[in-house]
Subunit: 359 residues, 4 copies
Amino acid sequence: MGSNSFGEIFRLTSFGESHGKAIGGIIDGCPAGISIDFDAIQLELDRRKPGQSKITTQRKEADRAVFLSGIFEGKTLGTPIAFEILNSDPKSKDYSHIKDSYRPSHADYTYDTKYGIRDYRGGGRSSARETIARVVAGAIAKQILIALGVETHAYVSSVGEIAMDVHHSQVDVSKIDDNIVRCPDEAKAEEMISYIDSIRKQGDTVGGVITGLAFNVPVGLGEPVFDKLHADLAKAMMGINAVKGFEYGGGFEMCKRRGSEVNDLFITTDEGVKTKSNHSGGIQGGISNGETIYFKVAFKPVATIMRDQISLNDKGEEVVVKGKGRHDPCVVPRAVAIVEAMTAMVLLDHYLRNKSTKL
Amino acid sequence: MGSNSFGEIFRLTSFGESHGKAIGGIIDGCPAGISIDFDAIQLELDRRKPGQSKITTQRKEADRAVFLSGIFEGKTLGTPIAFEILNSDPKSKDYSHIKDSYRPSHADYTYDTKYGIRDYRGGGRSSARETIARVVAGAIAKQILIALGVETHAYVSSVGEIAMDVHHSQVDVSKIDDNIVRCPDEAKAEEMISYIDSIRKQGDTVGGVITGLAFNVPVGLGEPVFDKLHADLAKAMMGINAVKGFEYGGGFEMCKRRGSEVNDLFITTDEGVKTKSNHSGGIQGGISNGETIYFKVAFKPVATIMRDQISLNDKGEEVVVKGKGRHDPCVVPRAVAIVEAMTAMVLLDHYLRNKSTKL
Amino acid sequence: MGSNSFGEIFRLTSFGESHGKAIGGIIDGCPAGISIDFDAIQLELDRRKPGQSKITTQRKEADRAVFLSGIFEGKTLGTPIAFEILNSDPKSKDYSHIKDSYRPSHADYTYDTKYGIRDYRGGGRSSARETIARVVAGAIAKQILIALGVETHAYVSSVGEIAMDVHHSQVDVSKIDDNIVRCPDEAKAEEMISYIDSIRKQGDTVGGVITGLAFNVPVGLGEPVFDKLHADLAKAMMGINAVKGFEYGGGFEMCKRRGSEVNDLFITTDEGVKTKSNHSGGIQGGISNGETIYFKVAFKPVATIMRDQISLNDKGEEVVVKGKGRHDPCVVPRAVAIVEAMTAMVLLDHYLRNKSTKL
Amino acid sequence: MGSNSFGEIFRLTSFGESHGKAIGGIIDGCPAGISIDFDAIQLELDRRKPGQSKITTQRKEADRAVFLSGIFEGKTLGTPIAFEILNSDPKSKDYSHIKDSYRPSHADYTYDTKYGIRDYRGGGRSSARETIARVVAGAIAKQILIALGVETHAYVSSVGEIAMDVHHSQVDVSKIDDNIVRCPDEAKAEEMISYIDSIRKQGDTVGGVITGLAFNVPVGLGEPVFDKLHADLAKAMMGINAVKGFEYGGGFEMCKRRGSEVNDLFITTDEGVKTKSNHSGGIQGGISNGETIYFKVAFKPVATIMRDQISLNDKGEEVVVKGKGRHDPCVVPRAVAIVEAMTAMVLLDHYLRNKSTKL
């Protein structure tokens, strides 16, 4: 089984608690002979790391990945790639107040009940700090996909009620990192930033939505019954902390419409078979059809707010949980790197799985 | 790997093409010594079967499950439970027109490209007829869950633009099967039925949304990183034919709001620890917290419409695809049984997985 | 997990009790577009089937495989291949005497304790009749391997104390099926047959050894740490009923010798890199090196003897277990087909797994 | 899949090359709330480590395990336990002579062909140094088993032609570590030690056999078809470097005998149901029956000898491979810890798997 593993062939097993010695993982099944661009990996970690701007948590972490195995003279060996990132700035004392208390809408109570033990410091294993391991593995997957001509992107499409108007097909993906909120619509980005900043000053938090994109995915990726390409994308995204919803292609909106309105007609073009519209979101019958894959991922507001909340301790007694620790007022700017990472892992894994479809 | 398997411990492997000899599956990992209620299984198959009402496809199938192994004198042996359902009413000739042509928004093109071969009759393996296997396995899971005190339900909450107003917590689940659309709001149900009927007469199709519910789930189910309980529910639902989106708890709407508005505060009650509100949807940190689990599943309109559509054949030439065969104008009434089945499988699997969390 | 599944990509899930309705399985992950030779499958089933000669059990079964899915117009679809073989000649009454009693060296006691329930008829799931499913899957794997140039063989190399003298490299594999004991050394075969026959007349049973061979295996199959090619072969063989030991290459004997005696020196030949000797058994570091793979599988005498034995019932009381039912005096003649089947499955699975080693 | 993972629930994923930064692993699925005895882990590492006596390799490594996650205040959290052991004494220069050459009976040639790249230093991933990860995971499994009343042991039963006469049932396991060869028969141990020493002086190597034991295994462990308890033990043992054979219970010898001679009769004792003899080796039908589990594991002589050998380089040209580096003249004294570790992992994994057999 392996509850802390993701992927069938290109398979990440992650480890680490927020205030433990390190966060890291092992990538098994990475093809041999691939040149690794370590700077590109660090770049993705930097996009995810805390303290990167005024609208993120102020925890300071260099988040530098150290590779322990699987790479020799800059190339993958086909053996497991192990890596670790030290936790250099834990302020564990900030968490002594929740040692025996359950923060509302956090995993404290469920962990305690499930395991009978809990590393309360910084949320332990339930902290989104775990996603570092995904970003490293995803950055490697992304490099391999790029070599195969496949591009993966993600951007913030809404924060609270502020939503981009631009359709995903019109987005200039090169602008995603031009601002700290990672929304490629400059005007909306400014609105989002000042909104998050005001929320932060109120000691509150807010949710948002990230749009994911994949270009030039070869036709044929995805297993058509349980492991449909979009089912694996859904699981990948829903496995990210704070995610409450996933839709791809026409999504929830499409379900209000008629077949005659939303069927995607096939046409022949210079590039081969294409569809006139793309309500299918690049996937038909669970298998990529060569069109752009697009989807939305909904993130709830962070549960930790800088306000007092009434809650319970582990004896069932009422307590006041204080708003302490360092937390993001809104996770989506940093989560962009995570959504991209998970997308890349799913696509590469299915690329490798597809190799045995025909002899 | 096993692309046609679902679940880690309670594990269904399904088989069958729409117009092949049979649809069926093997359930591995079902606990031993469980009394099986065969009528209850048949009841679920009847809820899913074609030809059950004027708003479903008119294909006639008895859909009776035959069990080949794993059950002895009415009880499970702990060995694999194999079952099969014969395909008794295939009208394969109805499909000769698409032998070489690709129906819009169907899996014909992607299957052909992925596999280089395709059973075109009735959509072959891409047909939703495969979900019979899931309903059988789900019906068994449901029985076991009931013995554990856990209840699973699903109902149609919207068809096209017609949506129930009643909040899921106010729904009387005993009324779900009182009408042929399986919406427990009688007035809305009538609207939906007459709308689907009119859509059918126009040779068109329409989408809808199903709400899933699980009551009395024990605290502690779900693996907190990649195999979060809601991530596995998402994968289960997104793996059902025609599904475009999944959300649980507060869902997409919650992502517009603030932490201070949607945090669920813990309280002590006679039944133990509870939360005042349930935006979390019964799952915190990927683990069930004992509150009601609820989620929405969005189904697109069926791609087969009774109208001519311009498309391509396998040589890339333009062809007209006629609207033929027997299809549902809207899948949600029959899909209720499938959503319930997948829910039950996910919950039972996680119940069994959780057994090894502590010694 | 899937306790009743074997293989990672080419994956058999088997089902069935000895006196249930059917034995069968689902093969998931078979590559698409392969032409299936049904006669060749039946031939393997005939080599395994009961009642084939005077030295096998007299249970009469046609053992004809019916395919339910996954094959269309004679070719594999890339979808699950389900098949079943009816149990047509169960004499379940023969087993009423062991309903509550434990046969010595059988699985009755362990099944009862593990599951709390047992299908006692013919040994239920613990019967070697389950291996039918393996023979079908193996026969398909064998066909695919032949198309890839790989040949798999097995033969009886000893029965009781009677052992072939001929080294495996000198064996004429075309002669294996020339006699009913499946030993390609004609003189020894006759000895073995008359010995088994005399043992049978005494109501006793005897063990034996099967040698397995694989020719022309491409260099590079096998995963070098836990899933070494020989480790997976070992698991495959040890999973066959009555097997007590496995060795490959130089085996146990080699462990008495010195490195300087048994190292295999590399040489260049017209066919490329070869080794002068082959103590390694065609596998180095868990990976095939292109030389002949050879191994031995030890089968104990069948536990059911036609004599009274003192045993216990499920209340712990002493009982006499009578020798009844129809059983083989020696399993190795029929097990040859099973050893070959498992060999073929392991090799094909590793062939497919190896496809993702390099991009 | 995960080629570098072992176990279904208690699951080790190992990483590391012999001369890379570190060797280590992640244990997923370890039950929560277990107190860890770090000294006991180190003790097992010390039993495996190089340089421990005159009859082992002289590479000097402290082999101290550092734990990075999954343990909090001395107890397991139920989250992944990651650990690493630094490679402190690699003498990589010793291996420059095989950068382009293939050592006889090593994995150099097969790795190069499979992966197209190879870390030649100290054998890279093919080095038995990888087994450190298994010893750590096995030491944890062993502790948990002891708490459950299960004991695992292993000892050297033969070296070259020198074999213990004492039956495993007469062995005093407390004496295993009394001498450096780990043979509990003092007289034979001295013979073995002086023989290995003489072999070492000749620059040669020799093979041997290890016997494994497990006492007090509860009845019911093992999955009866493919994942038989002995099949998983076989795979575990065959996956250890240099192993050529595995047998359990009566083994190869039993296959020469008659059913009437080797059937194990059930008897009732004060401790419940037992068998009079134990040719079954504590496992019937793939499931433990409560008797002592015993098996033998055959290790070939180490391939690296301190002599010149004629071989090939990667261009297929003849070269002389010099005997260099630091190697064991015989691996069995150090492999005792590895055999025990793998035994413990298999037993604990099946203990946890068995928890879901009944509701």
